[in-house]
């Protein structure tokens, strides 16, 4: 943005400092003729990079995470890429908001009527990777009677922090940012290949959350203009990821291994 002081624009116009007084008095309009923006803003070496790739680079880091079943997975490649996803943050010993949000989402999972694990994937990421072990997360999921298709994740603290901030969960005020409860309310809803992302409020009524999720996932495929429909990028066909261990968490869920 051009935010020039008088001195700057005079310099930009080629006037010397000594000339300022005289120029001001003369009121020469030619002094205004060209106003340069800072050279540091003139890096026009643009790349041909897709908006989807930019979103991935900035918001969907491919950090390594560990599921409640002790499987190693990579956030972007295994959990998000080509999928419809619902993502939220929690921690197993949350005594405030998390149980309510989780309870709401468990209701939502039932309302989505078998879609979770099939063409929609739920992820809960711990805000307390230092203390939440996969076993803790598994116990939390069990206590909430979580159905298949919903993976609980922990990882290295630095990776979790990067993930949290990349997904928009941070505040400029350090005190606000340090309060885990501030990151436990909002729920990210996205269809990765369509670059469609929003958030809903986990505190809202489950039937409204389910409506938002369903609408987000399905609305792009409604309607057409001049016969052009939204091509199905086979989102719903993308099954759960292949993990380094050779097991697919989604498949495990479908086989009912979670919760035990």
């Amino acid at each position: 943005m051009k935010r020039m002081t008088r001195r700057k624009w005079l310099v930009a116009a080629g006037a010397t400092t000594a000339a300022v007084g005289a120029a001001t008095l003369a009121g020469t309009d030619s002094l205004f003729a060209q106003e340069a923006t800072p050279a540091s803003k003139h890096n026009y070496n643009f790349k041909n990079i897709s908006p989807r790739d930019l979103i991935q680079q900035r918001h969907l880091p491919n950090v390594e995470l560990i599921t409640q079943d002790n499987q190693k997975v990579h956030f972007y490649n295994d959990l998000v890429k080509d999928k419809r996803v619902v993502i939220q943050f929690m921690f197993a010993r949350c005594k405030d908001i998390c149980p309510i949000i989780t309870h709401h989402l468990a209701e939502v999972q039932r309302m989505l009527n078998g879609r979770v694990g099939r063409d929609i994937f739920f992820y809960s990421i711990t805000l307390s990777p230092e203390e939440d072990t996969p076993r803790d997360l598994k116990a939390f999921a069990k206590a909430h009677e979580i159905g298949p298709g919903w993976t609980f994740l922990t990882g290295k603290p630095d990776d979790i922090l990067l993930l949290r901030k990349s997904l928009g969960f941070f505040y400029n005020d350090p005190k606000e940012d340090a309060d885990r409860n501030n990151h436990s309310g909002m729920v990210v809803v996205g269809t990765e290949p369509l670059m469609r992302w929003t958030m809903c409020q986990g505190g809202a009524k489950p039937d409204w959350i389910a409506t938002v999720i369903r609408t987000e996932m399905d609305a792009p495929f409604q309607g057409s203009v001049n016969g052009i429909r939204q091509a199905d990028p086979a989102v719903h066909l993308k099954a759960a990821p292949q993990t380094p261990g050779g097991q697919t968490p989604g498949a495990m869920h479908r086989h009912g291994s979670m919760p035990e």
Partner: protein
């Protein structure tokens, strides 16, 4: 704090027990609110210890990282945008005017001509109803959303618009910055060359001439959004007194391939009640705008270009400076300006938008009517400028700055607030704009020229400091400060005939409608709850009409902000309001007892811009002694608003118009119905 890897077994069992107890409660159907009511949880969400019901646990050591250490030079964020090499090199464009169409226009005959009930016959080409009216949140509600008063006030004017992408839009003539793909409203034609524009074409309408705008959703599919934007549309006519079916509310969006007819009676408020048949002339509106209002996606869609002006004229505000109030003639001397701040992606040079941000978004590329810091040639005479803050999150305080003598105070006149003429012009040196607010101002360039001396340039400058999307700071920069922003440069040319009224002669416009005793006073606290926006601790929901206003009754609403680190421009649909008072509440509504996030910001309400503070309405600047449709809810403030809800029945929203807050989702729906008494004071 305890690490669970070395945890105490007993402690773990207690935690598990607490969780189980809570799960039993929620299983029984208790909501969080119930728990609060039962005294098991505080308003702040802290579970009150009840035996094993909760378990105290230590603070999280999560190290705070400043956003600056996270962001880097390649992200879509303030400070990273590439800029054109020079500014003030492009003229500010004036949006084209939308042509009227005869009813025989093919667009108006597509499916069916505009009709009382929505044309919900299935279009075989799309598999959806031809018309999207009658859908609510994407689902058809048969029999709903017929046009109220459609037969009493027959349509006199028809318009068509097609909502389309434009892949060749330029924000600057500097070809170093690439062409942008925007989404916009077109001029109504079906030819491929009739692309969407930004700003949208200006719609010009007149009172007592009812009109229909038919809008086609011809956007590309979702996967071609360029990174942001969703191709489901709801077009809100912001500030008009419209029935819900034509208002373009957040839940009435329509799909690609559908059209939507918006019918407006073109009568002033009160037309069916206390001022039949044409309404109260004092309720006349003039500077309206229209924009996408798709729930959860309004910020990205308007940012993508879906916003423009609609101007209403009547027998007093005629658009002709030789008649009526003699305001400067449209279109030569009556100029709409929409201010928007954008980010350009440093990797691609393309406009970018962070869809993961729910706190508010600032840009570092300042546009006026879609062009980076343009110039505008004016004659040495009076002009009317209609200045709109097009969002998404920035607040402006706008001054006229002499670039050669930046401390010069250059006065001008405010004649309308939110598009509503004041009783008489007020002289100011600045005005403040929250998102969606509008001020109509008169600048007399003959007078300005005499103040600035021998040169010919004066600039509209935003001097309000704002560091993030939450709200402004208390700091107003000095003129020409390197951190202030020039929005438009006016270049003063020769003198020409000026038949417009001189505001210094104190011409009288409409008087303000009288304030009467409200039937009820309701209070609404706009706050956050665990990172979620809430109004009275409740969440947005299209399926929940929070309360009912009795048709044709007056109410007072107290809107309250308990914080001094967020501001919210609050917009209420249907009828306008008056600000009766602005009261500093000292943050007494804070819902976070025991936890203080108070920042060092003061409360610093807008000081009136040199136009003074009302002696009748406490702490209300004189320029806000007006009819309003957006009230900036400032730090630690309770604002009392007076409303009437006349003529139309049905549902309307109230929401924060920081569009990022709106989307995430600081909003509620209420309804207006006859013969319903709802006395909930904190709905």
């Amino acid at each position: 704090m305890a690490h669970f890897s070395k945890r105490n077994r007993r402690k773990e069992r207690e935690v598990q027990q607490a969780l189980n107890n809570r799960l039993e409660l929620v299983k029984e159907g208790f909501t969080r609110r119930d728990l609060i009511k039962m005294g098991l949880m505080t308003g702040a969400g802290v579970l009150i210890p009840q035996g094993g019901l909760t378990h105290a646990y230590g603070q999280d050591p999560l190290a705070p990282l400043s956003s600056s250490s996270f962001y880097h030079g390649s992200s879509c964020d303030v400070g990273n945008s590439p800029l054109p090499a020079q500014v003030f090199v492009d003229p500010m464009p004036i949006p084209p005017e939308l042509p009227t169409r005869p009813l025989t226009d093919p667009g108006l005959q597509f499916g069916a001509p505009p009709q009382l009930f929505p044309f919900n016959t299935i279009n075989p080409a799309t598999g959806l109803p031809f018309e999207g009216r009658g859908q609510f949140n994407g689902v058809l509600r048969p029999g709903s959303d017929f046009f109220q008063f459609f037969n009493q006030y027959p349509t006199q004017q028809y318009f068509v618009q097609r909502i389309r992408a434009n892949p060749n839009f330029r924000i600057t003539s500097d070809t170093n910055i690439p062409a942008q793909t925007i989404w916009g409203f077109n001029l109504g034609g079906s030819a491929a060359s009739d692309v969407g524009t930004f700003p949208a074409p200006t719609i010009v309408t007149h009172y007592q001439q009812p009109w229909v705008v038919r809008r086609f959703n011809e956007l590309p599919p979702q996967s071609q959004n360029g990174g942001f934007g969703v191709p489901e549309m709801s077009t809100h006519l912001h500030n008009f007194h419209s029935a819900p079916e034509s208002d373009g509310g957040p839940c009435r969006w329509f799909f690609r391939g559908q059209y939507f007819d918006h019918y407006h009676t073109a009568q002033q408020a009160g037309f069916s009640f206390d001022f039949p048949p044409n309404g109260d002339i004092r309720e006349s509106l003039s500077t309206l705008w229209y924009h996408d209002h798709r729930i959860d996606h309004t910020a990205e869609n308007t940012y993508k270009g879906l916003e423009g002006f609609q101007l209403m004229f009547n027998q007093f505000d005629t658009g002709n400076e030789t008649t009526g109030f003699r305001l400067p003639s449209y279109p030569q001397f009556d100029i709409p300006i929409i201010l928007t701040d954008k980010l350009l992606d440093p990797s691609t040079g393309l406009i970018c938008f962070d869809t993961f941000n729910f706190k508010g978004l600032l840009g570092d590329v300042q546009l006026a009517n879609g062009i980076v810091q343009p110039f505008f040639n004016v004659n040495k005479r009076r002009y009317r400028f209609r200045v709109l803050n097009g969002g998404p999150s920035r607040f402006y305080e706008l001054f006229l700055t002499d670039p050669l003598s930046q401390s010069n105070h250059i006065p001008f006149w405010v004649i309308a607030d939110d598009g509503n003429l004041l009783p008489t012009p007020i002289q100011v040196t600045s005005f403040r704009l929250g998102v969606a607010e509008r001020y109509d101002i008169i600048i007399d360039f003959n007078q300005v020229k005499s103040l600035i001396g021998s040169h010919t340039k004066v600039r509209l400058e935003n001097r309000l400091e704002q560091d993030d999307g939450q709200g402004p700071t208390c700091n107003i920069f000095a003129g020409g400060d390197s951190k202030a922003t020039y929005c438009v440069e006016f270049r003063i040319g020769s003198a020409v005939t000026d038949n417009s009224v001189d505001p210094a002669t104190h011409p009288v416009f409409y008087q303000l409608p009288s304030i009467i005793t409200p039937r009820i006073t309701r209070t609404f606290v706009f706050d956050r709850d665990n990172g979620q926006w809430v109004i009275n601790n409740k969440f947005a929901d299209c399926n929940e009409l929070r309360f009912t206003v009795k048709l044709n009754s007056p109410e007072n609403w107290v809107i309250s902000n308990p914080r001094n680190d967020w501001q919210h421009p609050i917009h209420i649909h249907d009828e306008e309001h008056r600000i009766l008072s602005r009261v500093n509440n000292g943050g007494h509504h804070s819902s976070r007892s025991g936890t203080s996030y108070d920042s060092s910001r003061g409360d610093c309400p807008f000081g009136g811009g040199g136009g003074g503070i009302s002696t009748q309405f406490p702490n209300v600047p004189n320029v806000e002694v007006s009819r309003k449709d957006v009230t900036r809810l400032q730090f630690d403030e309770d604002d009392t608003l007076f409303f009437r809800f006349r003529d139309f029945v049905g549902d309307y929203p109230m929401h924060c118009h920081n569009t990022v807050h709106e989307d995430h989702a600081m909003m509620l729906l209420f309804q207006v119905q006859p013969n319903v008494i709802d006395n909930n004071q904190n709905p």
